[in-house]
């Protein structure tokens, strides 16, 4: 996690100081991109989210209240942008697409074993079937390592709601991911059993 951005830089950036703006981007880009990547799991989509987030932030810098951490403000905007994208997109992906080669591709860098990639892709597909806000809570908590309080601030909901979402969503993800992996393995086992 990068060092917290000082509000002095934010104030200078709000006044139109180009150097302060560059510093602001340089100090926050890595964490912001990681957050966008963890929420979208698509590098190109993460790029778009990051660009749109900075555009919105720069447009509202002069109206920004210097309370809390600036990174929290960025995370809030980025998460809301991703939520908008999820709401616009189709709600669930078919199971047949969940473990396709394209779905496995984002996990290429994190796990070499085929089984691991399949497992992660199944979990990701199951997470993708959650409602937008619980989905964001799950990814912010497990993938981003955000606290329940932080998630509550980002999503503008009480902490109790976040915990409820996490408990419920974790069970759903386990069940759905397990079912996907079972369905995926079943035909191959059947084929091997039939062959002499």
């Amino acid at each position: 996690m990068a060092e917290a951005v000082a509000w002095d830089i934010v104030r200078l950036a709000a006044q139109g100081n180009a150097a302060a703006r560059r510093d602001l981007v340089g100090a926050t880009l890595d964490d912001l991109w990681s957050l966008a990547m963890r929420l979208t799991r698509r590098p190109n989509e993460a790029d778009d989210v990051v660009q749109e987030t900075y555009a919105r932030v720069f447009a509202t810098l002069d109206r920004l209240e210097p309370t809390g951490r600036f990174e929290g403000y960025l995370a809030r905007i980025a998460t809301n942008l991703v939520l908008e994208r999820w709401r616009r997109a189709r709600p669930t992906a078919p199971v047949t697409e969940a473990l396709s080669a394209e779905a496995l591709e984002p996990w290429q860098t994190v796990a070499d074993a085929e089984d691991d990639r399949r497992r992660l892709a199944a979990i990701w597909a199951a997470v993708g079937q959650l409602e937008p806000q619980p989905r964001a809570a799950v990814l912010l908590f497990y993938a981003q390592g955000e606290s329940c309080d932080g998630i509550g601030r980002i999503l503008d909901v009480p902490v109790g709601t976040v915990k409820t979402w996490l408990h419920r969503s974790r069970d759903q993800v386990r069940q759905r991911a397990g079912a996907m992996l079972q369905d995926d393995h079943a035909p191959s086992h059947a084929q091997t059993g039939e062959s002499p």
Partner: protein
């Protein structure tokens, strides 16, 4: 196959789900490309909200104000007197009369005395009529005595069912 540890309901930790966070680091090459992409937005000066009024709108508004100021006095002091309007309306009637024979003076019937008498009469007219009716009423209510006594139409014929 990885072993999936059992998590209690009170424990939100889940190593399998936490693996979703891996592989989300920004590579140097992508970082450089992204910085180039973000450079225009970062270099752009912030836009202050301003009220921009089109020049044509301002010109039109000014023209309306000037025209109103110029035309307002002319409308306010109308050169056409009211007598001219009545002259236009009553013109044909005036032309029928000869200028040598002036119209006879019309007697003015309204005077304070006439008005007072008319008012008094209108107040007394109703009660007076009622009083006159009351004086004549006893005469009209007393029936005149008839010379012929009232007799039944057929006194000799007995009614049906009556005993004789």
């Amino acid at each position: 196959m990885n072993h999936e540890p059992e998590a209690t309901d009170l424990d939100l930790g889940d190593p399998v789900l936490e693996r979703l966070g891996r592989g989300a680091d920004l590579t140097p090459a992508r970082r450089t490309a992204l910085l180039e992409r973000l450079a225009p937005a970062a270099a752009r000066a912030p836009r202050r909200r301003r009220w921009v009024i089109p020049v044509s709108l301002v010109t039109a508004a000014a023209a309306v104000v000037v025209a109103a100021l110029l035309l307002w006095p002319a409308r306010r002091y109308d050169p056409i007197p009211p007598t001219a309007i009545f002259a236009d309306l009553l013109g044909p009637v005036a032309e029928m009369e000869t200028p040598s024979a002036p119209a006879a003076p019309v007697q003015d019937e309204s005077s304070p005395l006439n008005d007072m008498l008319a008012s008094l009469w209108s107040d007394l007219e109703g009660p007076l009529a009622i009083a006159m009716d009351a004086l004549e009423a006893p005469k009209s209510l007393v029936p005149a005595k008839s010379a012929v006594p009232e007799t039944p139409a057929h006194p000799s014929e007995p009614r049906k069912g009556e005993s004789e």
